[in-house]
Symmetry: D3
Subunit: 295 residues, 6 copies
Amino acid sequence: MSQPPSPPPKPLEGYAHYAHYIISSPGPFVAHVEINRPAKLNAFTRDMWLELRAAFRQLSADPDVRAVVLSGAGERAFTAGLDVKAASQGGSALLPGPGGRGVDGARAATMLRREVYEFQDCISAVERCEKPVICILHGISIGLAIDLSSCADVRLCAADTRMAVKEVDIGMAADIGTLSRLPKAVGSSSWVKEVCLSARAFGADEALKVGFVSQVLESKAAAVEAGLKLANLIASKSPVAVQGTKELLNHARDHSVDESLRYTAIWNSAMLQSDDFSSALLSGIQKTKPRFEKL
Amino acid sequence: MSQPPSPPPKPLEGYAHYAHYIISSPGPFVAHVEINRPAKLNAFTRDMWLELRAAFRQLSADPDVRAVVLSGAGERAFTAGLDVKAASQGGSALLPGPGGRGVDGARAATMLRREVYEFQDCISAVERCEKPVICILHGISIGLAIDLSSCADVRLCAADTRMAVKEVDIGMAADIGTLSRLPKAVGSSSWVKEVCLSARAFGADEALKVGFVSQVLESKAAAVEAGLKLANLIASKSPVAVQGTKELLNHARDHSVDESLRYTAIWNSAMLQSDDFSSALLSGIQKTKPRFEKL
Amino acid sequence: MSQPPSPPPKPLEGYAHYAHYIISSPGPFVAHVEINRPAKLNAFTRDMWLELRAAFRQLSADPDVRAVVLSGAGERAFTAGLDVKAASQGGSALLPGPGGRGVDGARAATMLRREVYEFQDCISAVERCEKPVICILHGISIGLAIDLSSCADVRLCAADTRMAVKEVDIGMAADIGTLSRLPKAVGSSSWVKEVCLSARAFGADEALKVGFVSQVLESKAAAVEAGLKLANLIASKSPVAVQGTKELLNHARDHSVDESLRYTAIWNSAMLQSDDFSSALLSGIQKTKPRFEKL
Amino acid sequence: MSQPPSPPPKPLEGYAHYAHYIISSPGPFVAHVEINRPAKLNAFTRDMWLELRAAFRQLSADPDVRAVVLSGAGERAFTAGLDVKAASQGGSALLPGPGGRGVDGARAATMLRREVYEFQDCISAVERCEKPVICILHGISIGLAIDLSSCADVRLCAADTRMAVKEVDIGMAADIGTLSRLPKAVGSSSWVKEVCLSARAFGADEALKVGFVSQVLESKAAAVEAGLKLANLIASKSPVAVQGTKELLNHARDHSVDESLRYTAIWNSAMLQSDDFSSALLSGIQKTKPRFEKL
Amino acid sequence: MSQPPSPPPKPLEGYAHYAHYIISSPGPFVAHVEINRPAKLNAFTRDMWLELRAAFRQLSADPDVRAVVLSGAGERAFTAGLDVKAASQGGSALLPGPGGRGVDGARAATMLRREVYEFQDCISAVERCEKPVICILHGISIGLAIDLSSCADVRLCAADTRMAVKEVDIGMAADIGTLSRLPKAVGSSSWVKEVCLSARAFGADEALKVGFVSQVLESKAAAVEAGLKLANLIASKSPVAVQGTKELLNHARDHSVDESLRYTAIWNSAMLQSDDFSSALLSGIQKTKPRFEKL
Amino acid sequence: MSQPPSPPPKPLEGYAHYAHYIISSPGPFVAHVEINRPAKLNAFTRDMWLELRAAFRQLSADPDVRAVVLSGAGERAFTAGLDVKAASQGGSALLPGPGGRGVDGARAATMLRREVYEFQDCISAVERCEKPVICILHGISIGLAIDLSSCADVRLCAADTRMAVKEVDIGMAADIGTLSRLPKAVGSSSWVKEVCLSARAFGADEALKVGFVSQVLESKAAAVEAGLKLANLIASKSPVAVQGTKELLNHARDHSVDESLRYTAIWNSAMLQSDDFSSALLSGIQKTKPRFEKL
């Protein structure tokens, strides 16, 4: 018998206006963001990625949020990626065009560059969010699904997840982040090249083996539950400690160890001036749950 | 019963003049390069590495090539590395010498530096090749075998492959690329240090586990076959998409995510102005094989 | 029946004055450093980390040492990390304080920054040591244990090792190196974020799977034995080759492949002017053990 | 007799809603932005820097703009910098506070960091503007005046300009860009350190000698006129060429020559596919003024 | 009365086969390279830049050369830059084309990118030459003249030199090195932006003032003479010292001070093992001219 | 009539034990360090550079010091550089040796590398000193004088100063910092190459013109006086502001503008939590001299 669906989630205050995302509050200081276009396999339109940026900017600065879970609504897909049909009709500058015939190539390139920057910036909002983001991959998770989940801090997936870096199959190199982040998220350049050059699908076990996800759960429901459990655990810790850890790990990825150590020392020269330390120690001694000020 | 040898390959036009490599065309837009000195375990002489550069430069710009497979001729070795005996007799500047006695150390260093640069540049031609290179490791694969295969995009190996970063056993640190590329190709710095500092051998399973290769096949023949199959798959895709993907992944390895995203946007501002997108989409709808212009 | 303890080790000459470390010589050119505060689970006081720097500086330049093994004394712990109680009483600037109340925040930050730099510099001495360092994790190995072992070249562990990046549990982001080095030592950013953000424990198998350690042994004794065996193997090789390999791998981690190749060529332009090459070759032919000059 | 004021400028269409800037169109494809708070020496409030970002974002993408001149309204000041009084009353997080007394230092730091990022981002909009910006310094030009003008591409000044990197005089290191950009804009690190560490004033001749400005004009009016003349000249050129030149020079400042050459080649691989080349050549032959498509 | 022409120079052995350059030997260990197309103001064709690379590669490794002077033949021009007419007729991929109409924009970009890389590589050969290059600017020195002279180590000019970064006037951003190297060669970013964005001409005095040239001489003949004198002085010094100085200064331009110090130490660990030191000291004591081995 | 010598300086407390430096206190929070070996033109022995590091480390952390002036004792020289004779006799590893004859080149290189690192580290202590250092060049100022003064923040010189990057004249490339720092301190790469490759002398006016010094004074006494005046001015400012400014300018030199802005924001998130701001503002209003807490 399959896992019953979760009860209707409690809305997170201040996020009701988002059209394409269900943003709920499944626990104290935890937000759950669901991409809400299940009928179209959660495929992304331009509106959706613009709204994604707005939502994660708000979450980033929201003192009532300390950890975020990101998943897709419905059983079938985390997301099937860019809605190519909508993009074509909407006259998006992003899709490969007919060789620039009839238009000035330099001007076409300028429009494309601006649009790619904008699209990248929207998806990168997940990485820039100051609070940790746990992404739940499930079902169809291709194309933009990989760009997007690569921006998350932790990735879990359901056993049925079917992933692919699909872009070469539509005649283009992935440009919204997969090629920039995936090689730094996993431990085998040979595997990264293989899946990115061939666009072949890979499943949950393969994703776990190369380290793209850190846990595989039996179903979407179980994966979401595991994600929420982890989010609750993280949200119970000092937000000064957690947010600093995210920032410093992201900085470390892109810098030498010497640069990272120097930056870490500067960062902590302010961040160690916090009450969270004594709260944490005291509650350790008293076996109570520590209480931390908002951040 | 052992796997029968492959039938004599069809030569790739324009590559017959290479003395040390068999370069054939096992499928449309696919090249197969075999290191051809099996009697000496495909050990490299100076001539061979100079010719390697010439061959991969030609492949890089050849519009009839979209994917390359690299393997060793014969059953015994991919390559046993540098032909130390030939190098000694040829008076190579590359081999560690007798402590600079009798010569000016600065001038000896200058000659060594120039020769190492030249050698590095020849091997790096595999990485610089604009078309993806799939390397098949098999049998003895030590020393230069690791430098060379680390330049490839994808690495597959036969179950009998015996690998080692062998250089410390002849009194030197590897200087043709292994120490620069191996740590970025696999996911365990502890393992990299262990095999590089001790020169101990490792086999196919270990190579798969740490991610150095992405597949292990039962025999050399099976590994070559898997490599050719992958090459054919890649060669059937848009060359604009494939070559862009290789370039952007190589750039990402050496840059921060921010740098990589910016470079990607500039790259694709030109590359999205291609007919390959509509060809790919149309053939997807019509269930036909897309045809892409040469590149 | 448990493994009997090793016989009392032979002291390494010149290191008897260290108060907090037992430094012995279990084989030619091999040093074994044991953190010697087993009654307190080898927890670190300020004195201990200052002395650690002094010891590894001496080992780095000691021509009688070619490989170092680092472990904890006693069965219970490699190290339980910073001695928080001692640090509080000693008035360490390092521990998070009470929100800067009553003091000028800029001046508090300056004191903290200087102290973090000093602490980082002491632990980094393990990485800067010119000779390879093999770290044996065993028993409790949390907090500073991860910062410290991340500086080693090779990590082995006993099956009973219990590890955690524990800092968020005391209200702070780890600042002595874990967040800078761990992401570059293993192959799964999702796993790194998971254990660093949640402070959850992980064991030997998990550490092996993500590549943090390269071998798991059944017990502390077996792990130390394996470490010493590896150290002896490395110490039998050319010190020019071994020390160059360590330097070049550390440089590669923090630089692009092009930078690394250039640096490698310059490095080897001097280092190939060595007698170790002919010694290594000759002993290979004569099946004798090569003898290398001190370094 | 003093220079008469310029005639009332023709408004630039689409920019009438800005409260703190007069944005006019003194010539085809040229915009003139005047900081409009002369009664307060054009000192900046929070609203003003937020609006500055909005205005330069709009100018950046406006196809009717090819060059921008930035100056202060009134005769007395380009800008006297941050309006410290307003900032204090508005409870700005940016001003140095009373040592964090009574508040958690880590949380105070987080608020400060976010606010500094926001302020930096607003001022950097001048640098990010895709069209060249010519800044006219005149009269009092201290504090934020240097941060702001350092973001411009070309700096001209009036003979009466009185400049200072004033921040140390109010107890803080300049953090909105002066310390990041000034050392790369001029050719004497000794001079940069001298004026930044001492906060001493310097005049037009000194600014010219060290290269901070490239021309000194006799009066504000003459400097504005020279700026507009240069803007008109630049606006008459190919926008593909001009905007590419700005982008590539900004990229070069922050990258090695090798990185810059590679980026340049990628950039121009799209940008050379333009009609501007033939337009420019043809008008050169025909002695006519070339016409370029909008960008 | 004008300066009489120099006597016919003595050819440098081994360089007679170059068609577009006169390469002579005006003194021991000094080479003088003259661009030899005075009838066309020394404008460059494709053949010329390919040959430039060949010549400077040969000079770089020639032990009989220790310093190089580069100038233009004839009185009228150092070089008027790219021969645009020849480039158009030769179907060069380099010139901006008609907006990519009728061709696939991605494929056009690939051809352009390869050609720009090739052109950049040829001009960069002057910078890569291991021996110092002194460039004499005189007469018309526009476009490619700036790219080319920016690769030299020292720039001198005649009083009549007329320079311009001319590329925006033909509808393109300079892409052969000016925008990458000029900002790092002079001390005023405002001036660099001004001349690059406006394409306006500048003369010898202005070039001296901003530091682009380090000396202005009254005439071409005097400038060549000063260049040869400096070359002779440099050629009389230890080639180990001189070539190391060039290498380390070029490295420093593109790296942080810490990186540069580390690289310098590695470089000199080999280069200090030279006889040149004792030769230099001894000749200092004996007041004789030191003799250094070839390099 | 020549300027009378300054009165005997008041010793700075805690610095009397330095053998080679006179360290006095010419004003509140100001230290004056004089290299004290005038009979030998202040030439450096190994002892002297080791002591230089010790002294500047002490000054860096000394809360009673806010600005440092560095000059040479006596009228004849700031410093004539390395004492070559002492270095030869002391068997320094630093001096170029006889081509490594008779010793293993790799081992000689290792000793040289360690010694160069040590020497560089001692001189770099001037740059690492958290308090600004004003260097007074006068008389003979060659070789190490340039390495050393390049580490200072501000350079002033007397009219009679005779400077040279002298190293190529003794057969070596400068390796203690000149080649790493000089190109980033002045604004003409052509001039830097000219003086470094030729070892020619240059005087005060030339140093001022290229920006190496920011003021030229008529005599040593006047230059020292100007330096002390500047030091007193700086010492009267907020030490939080001054020390932050030094740190951020040094960081900016070695990083991109984006990196620098990010680092600046983190730095100031702690440093703005200071009382110095209100002290500075209040004293501005009250026309009193502000008092700042020690740092």
